[in-house]
Amino acid sequence: MLVLLLIALIGACLLPLAARYIGKGAGLLMALLPFGLLAGFVGLAPIVERGWVRGEGYSWAPAMGLDFTLRLDGFSFLFCLLITGIGGLVMIYSGGYLSDKGRGERSRFFTLILLFMTAMLGTVLADNLLVMIMFWEATSILSFLIIGFEHKSSRSRRAANMALQITAAGGLALVAATLMIGHVIGTYSMAEAVLRADEIGAHPLAPAIVIAIMLAAFTKSAQFPFHFWLPNAMQAPTPASAFLHSATMVKLGIYLLARFEPVIAETSWGRATLVAVACITMAMAAIQALRAESFKAALAYSTVASLGILVMLVGLDGPRATVAMIGFLFAHALYKAALFFCAGSVLHATGKGVLRSLGGLWRPLPLTAAACLGASLSMAGIPPFLGFVSKEFLFEAQLASSWELVPLTIAVLVNAVMVGVAGVITLRPFFLKPREKVEVHHGETFSLVAPPLLLALLGLTLSLNPDWITRVALRPAVAAVYGQAVEVQLSVWHGLTPMLALSAVVVSIGLLIIRFWRNIHLMLRNRVRMEQYSIENVWEYSVRSLVRFSIRMTKRIEHGDLRGYLIAMILGVTGFCIWAMATSGGALRFPVNDTPLRLPEILLMLLGLGGAFVAARSSNVLSSMLGVGLTGFTIAITFMLNGAPDLALTQFAVEALVVVLLTAMLLGVPLVCVRTRSDKEHQVDGLIALGFGLTAFIAQVDMAAGREASSVSEWIGQMSLVAGYGYNVVNVILVDFRGFDTMGEVSVIAMAALLGTSLLASRKSTRAENEAERGVHYSFSVASAVLFWMLIIASLIILYRGHNLPGGGFVGGLTAALAFAVLSLARGTRAAEAYLRVSPPVLVGAGLLLTVGAGIPGMLKGNGSAFLTQLWWEPGGFLPKLGTTMIFDFGVYLVVLGAVVTFLFGLQKEGAR
């Protein structure tokens, strides 16, 4: 089975490609795939016939209970026959129907239909419910694409959207049902779930499970109140309608209900709900079928009514109901597909779909008329057609079941309407005189005639000679659904039974409907309110309101004011902080033996706070920048005083660069701030800042009180020289112990540089003479070259000695960037660029390559070392110890240099423009 499924999938992807090169007969070629699959399934018939079940399973994600298990029993088998058999005919028919379309369009249609067929097969074959959901959702999505095939028409798009919204919502219900079932019985196997239906029924979740299953089935099978998507889906090309609405898509809901019938029956109200919903659906659909104007719409509503009958049959108890359900499902698939084909042919040949304006088509389309007649007789349940047999079953099941008269009455009336509709759609277009002449564009072709004719003939021959199909498909299907073998006897003549009498009643009423169709039809059409207050409109209105609501919400949340976003974020962080402190339990602590206060540092920090205060209060951004810089420098000195020379170096270099870079930017923008906040907002912001600061302070004090000596720091301190061959522990952490982290950070800087190159697109010469005119003091200009080289040499020394003394790639790169900053300030950006020779992004790329490359030799050493395991080599003699960390650190150096220089040059050019 998996093989067949795979063939279907691969064939669906590849075969339609051939249709791009074949004109006529492409449909016949495409039909080879479904028919081949049909043959494959018929080959499995002996298994099914004996009532055996064939299972295949592959472990997929066992931890999630997701196994790719397939299961073929009688019911699945019947579906497979219908899907592939009718699928093949649909392919042939589409070849003729789409002959006026472009080859690409046609090929797309074939692909969609074949994929849809594959998804259908997967759904009915899957045993694992999670796998079934995947295929089930695939049918929803593919039907969306098929219904919206004419995507340039807004009506198609609307219909496709509606079908997707409804069926996908039902799909979600199925997911919910599956998860609940998995929760209750601990497995996702459908067979298991059905076997243990009583267990599920006894669980408190049972009502929820049953409701969710019903929702999934009702949406898919177009039951009230979700029925309206189906008539709209007639926007699809007719061959697609024939496939989707006869044998496949809409029958999935029935499939699901029939499978889970034992579970539904466990609840006291399950069957009653099914019958009630089915009755409403049937009654409503019958009226709409008489009201429908077009051929296809009439068929669509009759399909809804038929689905109602099927749901009712699932709801009824007793073996006869199952027999009737299987029989009707089979008969309906055959005649409904044929009728859709006929409707398509009429539409194709005349370009008209409205029944009232058609007539007399038996002359130009004789074979189509014959097929339509045969299929209609089956639909009307006239002996000796298959439809008659299935209708006998239906009445038998109703009389045998324990139900009252109401469903029976409705069933009789609905069947009478079916007779009427069948009569009208045959007589009106084909045999009655047209009111005005109907133009026929073309006659019949093989592709357009063979499929409906074949199906109509099948409806006749199978009822006259039912042995094979009963033995192979119907009896096993009934057994699979009912759970035990049931006698199924398809015969036209049952003798004089109550069922025959009911049939006679049905046909008589049906004949009356045919006689007075025009009057009934026009009377119903004048009831405009039926459209105004239809559920369809309610649905559309609610979908529109939903969109409107979400737009309003989005506008409120994504209002476009940066300040609002930031306030939300800051309050969120503060809130979480307070929440964490409040829930951690215990009072806030205060450090008991804190280190004593040192006056010089206090004075220094007060200076830094002053800088921050100025930055916050000043209305001139230049003084703000200086304030921020002042704070940065005091922090750098603080680092220095507290045993962090590496940090001090880095901070100094960064602060110097910030000043150079931001000044370059500030040259381009106004320095005095325009008022952007009202007084009230100023106060609010002040309060928020105060709250945040206070929270941060309390949190830090509490954290400091609970501080313990870090075992990680201690371990690193011990291992640094032994394992990392470096005296400077900070640097060893960066390049060795946490090398992978550093690589990540370097990549972030590289990405920033990339962003810089695209943001500050290198503008061609920003008026070179302008730069020359800038008043740079002569001494600075001369000294700059010396300064440049001194800084470059210093940066290299810092880089080299970093492993043992304060320094390293980050500081080195920043220092080298400073050298270029000095140069560009003194001699202009172009001169500095000329000194660099290569473009900055090249440096970034080379640096990134080095950092990654440094990690590879360690990996190749072969004793299972991970990426970025650093290696060391001691050549002896004068030569110092060499290690891959040096390559790594040099990479860091280059990335930092390249990135900063990218922005330096970019901002200087952009700012001077």
Partner: protein, 125 residues
Amino acid sequence: MTVFYAFCASCIMGFAIYMLLSRNLVRTLLGLSLLSTGANLALFAAGGFGSDLPPIIAQGAEALGVSADPLVQALILTAIVIGFALTIVLASITLRIWRATGSLDARDVTLPDQKNLADMERSVE
């Protein structure tokens, strides 16, 4: 000392938040730069002020003696550089916004999303 530094870091972050909330993009980016400075100081204070000796192993010694916490320093070192990168990226974006819109007010920057939203609203009506 720790409490004092915690106080200073909180003050700096508070001032930074106040700047950040300004709708002037230059002030916002300066505020962000200040915020990262304050956060670094807070992180540094979390390492404690046990010793003012740098975490460098003395010549001849095998392991690190008494010194400042090296781990915190390694974290802060990269944080300084990343914060710097963030500042200059923002500076570039701000400059481009100024060139494109002639305004530094964050409210004048309309996102494409909001235009889409307006289009969508029209289509629903």
